[in-house]
């Protein structure tokens, strides 16, 4: 059966069907539609005002690659300038390859690239070192907890280094859906209360962050990357199989199979959650050590590093937690839910 005509330009043969609507489009029209939608998201939400210096969190993966590419296309229209900021967590065998991809992209697109490394910022702690330090205690290594918090801090540092006014990350709709599922399963009322919007406006000296790809489904991001022949790094992190997010991800895949609009429905639900005022996180202040945004005396990054440096890596994990004991084994009374500060990002 010959492919139908593109529903948009009616001249070329359709090359794909959009996952959400089933509309048949040719490659160019699809890319144009995708870019138009991202533009609409940014403009309608007033996310990136003209003149903004935007630090793009680039990991070399498909989301940040597509994000950088789209923003580069839209930059003249929006009046923004872009910098790529890549974070080197020190995960051997994974991050080096990803960084190589980012370097290639920076050269190809002629965008300035800054690489910030955990080893430099956090006193020699690479993710591999963290993993070694937390392993062997009979419980999970909780690597993703550390990595997420530290990476967000590193991104902020990198953004400051290049003099950026906004930080953007490539989270897509699927990530948001997984996050809300995960937060419910873990009982993280604080994050539930905070999440759901289009990013944070930047309180207390932190740079405003946003996620322009937030409404794009993952499949469309992959399709876009395919049609624009973008070069990205597609392996998963070596520590990823341990993450709890994996459960949420599997669930989301199954939900999507049962009902294609599940991702959008979850995002809709997340936006409209009404949590009790007591469950919301306290208004943020400043960290006493580094001055960054913090809900408590120490910001999460400092607290985690503190624990690592003292040889008690789980010191900051579980403190100030507001939920139940979630962990099965009653051998250790200490629960393992990370405190509520910043969402675990996922490039």
């Amino acid at each position: 059966m010959p492919a139908p005509q593109c529903a948009s330009c009616h001249t070329a043969r359709a090359a794909l069907r959009r996952p959400r609507s089933g509309q048949a489009l040719c490659g160019t029209c699809f890319c144009a539609a995708f870019e138009a939608e991202v533009l609409h998201t940014v403009v309608a939400g007033r996310l990136l005002p003209p003149g903004a210096v935007v630090a793009v969190g680039a990991s070399g993966g498909k989301d940040s690659t597509v994000l950088a590419h789209v923003l580069r296309e839209l930059a003249p229209r929006l009046g923004i300038s872009l910098h790529l900021v890549a974070v080197d967590e020190g995960i051997g065998g994974y991050r080096d390859a990803a960084l190589a991809a980012v370097r290639r992209q920076a050269v190809r697109w002629d965008l300035p690239l800054t690489v910030v490394a955990y080893a430099d910022l956090f006193g020699g702690w690479t993710m591999d070192a963290v993993a070694r330090s937390t392993a062997g205690s009979g419980r999970s290594r909780a690597c993703c907890t550390f990595c997420g918090v530290l990476r967000r801090r590193a991104l902020e540092e990198g953004a400051r280094l290049v003099g950026a006014t906004h930080v953007v990350t490539g989270h897509n709709a699927d990530d948001m859906a997984e996050t809300v599922l995960m937060n419910f399963l873990r009982g993280d009322a604080g994050r539930l209360a905070r999440g759901g919007g289009l990013g944070s406006p930047g309180e207390g000296g932190a740079l405003p962050r946003c996620r322009p790809l937030q409404l794009a489904s993952q499949k469309e991001v992959v399709l876009y990357a395919h049609f624009r022949r973008l070069d990205y790094f597609s392996e998963e992190c070596v520590y990823a199989p341990e993450a709890f997010r994996g459960h949420a991800r599997d669930l989301l895949k199954m939900l999507e199979a049962a009902r294609p609009s599940a991702v959008l429905d979850l995002v809709h639900s997340a936006e409209r959650l009404a949590l009790a005022p007591a469950a919301r996180p306290p208004p943020p202040g400043a960290c006493s050590r580094c001055g960054a945004l913090a809900s408590r005396a120490l910001c999460q990054a400092c607290a985690l590093l503190d624990g690592l440096n003292r040889g008690r890596p789980r010191l900051a994990i579980g403190k100030g937690r507001r939920g139940l004991d979630e962990e099965g084994p009653r051998r250790e009374p200490q629960p393992s839910l990370p405190p509520t500060s910043e969402p675990v990002p996922d490039f």
Partner: protein, 512 residues
């Protein structure tokens, strides 16, 4: 909580290991004397009496803590025949028969909805089930009502029963009674006790003599026409998810109608902790994030005059199963819509399988989700005035133009998945486009009944109705209420410029 692999859990603990189960000298953890018979959470072994005490205490504490059920109130127990609702009915039965100081003080009735038509059961099977059901109901001694989802009752002054003969007023929210304050509750209890005292022994007996027969049970089985209409409706729904949601909606409406007709002001459903956790996650996935507090909280007062109450919400399914087994609670097992359906057939099934699987790995999953659900509040969005209500689920509509993410997403996704003619696509996209761009909702009204109905639904119900290709198969009360509402809205639009202040409240009090 982030761990997935099993190996991390097997290394030896540092502290003293928990007492090994099965050793002869282990005692009940509560009374330390009796021999344990059940293990609720891992490591908590209870003897029979302590378990019963715990179970009953949970039930009574749930009712007592919330103070919603006033003494002498008529409460309808929604019994599905399943273990949780059977347990609930049993608890109420036992609670009413206690000695007077601790006796439960409301007047119960039981309703059973026969849903055999939806899963294609033959009439012989249905009759057999009904006979079992009647047997159980008679042992309770409460006034009972057996209603088939589709049947048309005798023409009685209650306008017949069954979804095909419900009046449109089922979908209206009547004026809410003000929630009693603490002192009002105490005063009510005191006056009730005085009344009881004054009536003396006679009065007590008279009050506790419940008629064992349902005075209003219809003459015979439902007519085939109605059964066929219901089967046609359910067969036309494309996905199991939408079917389940539709069934729930229709069942709620029917129970509501019966409650209103017979003067019940509360309905108790037997949702257990496990079921509510699953329901919460399912509602999340269905786009009902705004209504989670109503869907899974203790009390659900969106219908106004009848309040749905969930007294079993702290009992896990495991406890219910143990209790039913140990104390021989009768229940009737009937096939449901999703019996024998594969795991991936519907969102409800998926979520159930997922949560139960996760619970096996992280034993506190269900209680975590439950605790989180307790933190949800029944608030409209900040700055939002109470607006129109959804036609089907009767929650305040959560689709508005200020919503950037999903209105936009709905726009891009609202070209229909099937291949209808272009005109249909344009019209079907109408309501969402209008909603997204803030245009007047009257542009497509009157031209397309489907659009008319769709725009009166909340986001979750809209997504469900997408799986129902032809809305004409819906029971007439839904369609006529939709028409009434849209007519009223059109009329209001015409005179909008002349209306002063908030006409919504006046209109609502006018109709109640």
């Amino acid at each position: 909580m982030c761990e997935m692999s099993e190996e991390y859990r097997e290394s030896a603990p540092k502290g003293s290991p928990p007492p090994r189960l099965g050793t002869r000298d282990q005692k009940c953890v509560k009374c330390k004397e009796g021999l344990p018979v059940v293990v609720i959470r891992a490591g908590d072994a209870f003897c029979r009496d302590c378990f019963k005490a715990l179970y009953v205490h949970k039930f009574r504490a749930m009712l007592g803590k919330n103070r919603l059920i006033f003494p002498g109130e008529k409460v309808l127990l929604a019994w599905s025949g399943g273990p949780s609702s059977s347990s609930m009915v049993w608890q109420v039965l036992e609670g009413l028969s206690r000695d007077s100081a601790k006796r439960l003080r409301f007047v119960p009735g039981v309703i059973y909805v026969d849903e055999g038509a939806t899963c294609g059961q033959s009439s012989e099977d249905r009759a057999k089930t009904l006979a079992e059901v009647k047997l159980v109901l008679q042992t309770t001694g409460f006034p009972w009502h057996i209603v088939a989802l589709e049947e048309v009752g005798r023409p009685s002054l209650f306008e017949g029963l069954g979804v095909f003969s419900l009046p449109p007023s089922v979908l209206r929210c009547f004026a809410q009674e003000p929630v009693g304050t603490e002192s009002a509750y105490k005063a009510a209890v005191d006056s009730f006790l005085q009344q009881q005292h004054a009536l003396g022994a006679d009065g007590v007996e008279r009050q506790s003599q419940h008629c064992a027969q349902d005075p209003h049970s219809p003459a015979g089985p439902p007519t085939t026409a109605q059964t066929q209409a219901l089967s046609r409706l359910f067969d036309s729904v494309k996905t199991l998810t939408a079917k389940e949601e539709l069934l729930q909606t229709l069942r709620t409406h029917l129970i509501l109608h019966v409650a209103r007709n017979h003067g019940y002001s509360k309905v108790m459903t037997g949702d257990s902790c496990t079921r509510l956790a699953i329901k919460l996650m399912t509602s999340l996935a269905l786009g009902r994030g705004a209504f989670l507090a109503w869907d899974t909280g203790f009390s659900d007062e969106r219908h106004g005059d009848v309040v749905v109450v969930r007294p079993m919400r702290e009992h896990t399914l495991k406890e219910v199963a143990f209790y039913n087994r140990l104390f021989a609670v009768p229940s009737v097992c009937t096939p449901a819509l999703d019996t024998k359906a594969p795991e991936k057939a519907s969102i409800h099934r998926l979520m159930e399988a997922f949560i139960l699987r996760l619970q096996a790995q992280f034993p506190s999953t269900v209680s975590t989700v439950y605790r989180t659900s307790e933190k949800l509040v029944k608030a409209p969005r900040d700055g939002c005035v109470a607006g129109p209500r959804c036609l089907l689920c009767m929650c305040t509509l959560d689709v508005d133009t200020a919503d950037s993410a999903t209105a936009f997403g709905a726009q891009t996704s609202h070209l229909p998945q099937m291949q209808p003619p272009v005109t249909q696509a344009g019209v079907a996209a109408g309501p969402c486009c209008c909603a997204g761009m803030g245009g007047g909702p009257s542009c497509y009204r009157g031209e397309d009944p489907r659009a008319q109905v769709m725009e009166q639904l909340c986001y979750g119900c809209r997504v469900n109705m997408k799986d129902l290709p032809s809305l004409e198969l819906l029971p007439p009360y839904i369609l006529s209420e939709a028409q009434i509402r849209s007519q009223r809205a059109t009329a209001e639009q015409e005179v909008q410029e002349y209306l002063l202040g908030d006409s919504e409240d006046e209109a609502r009090t006018g109709e109640s």
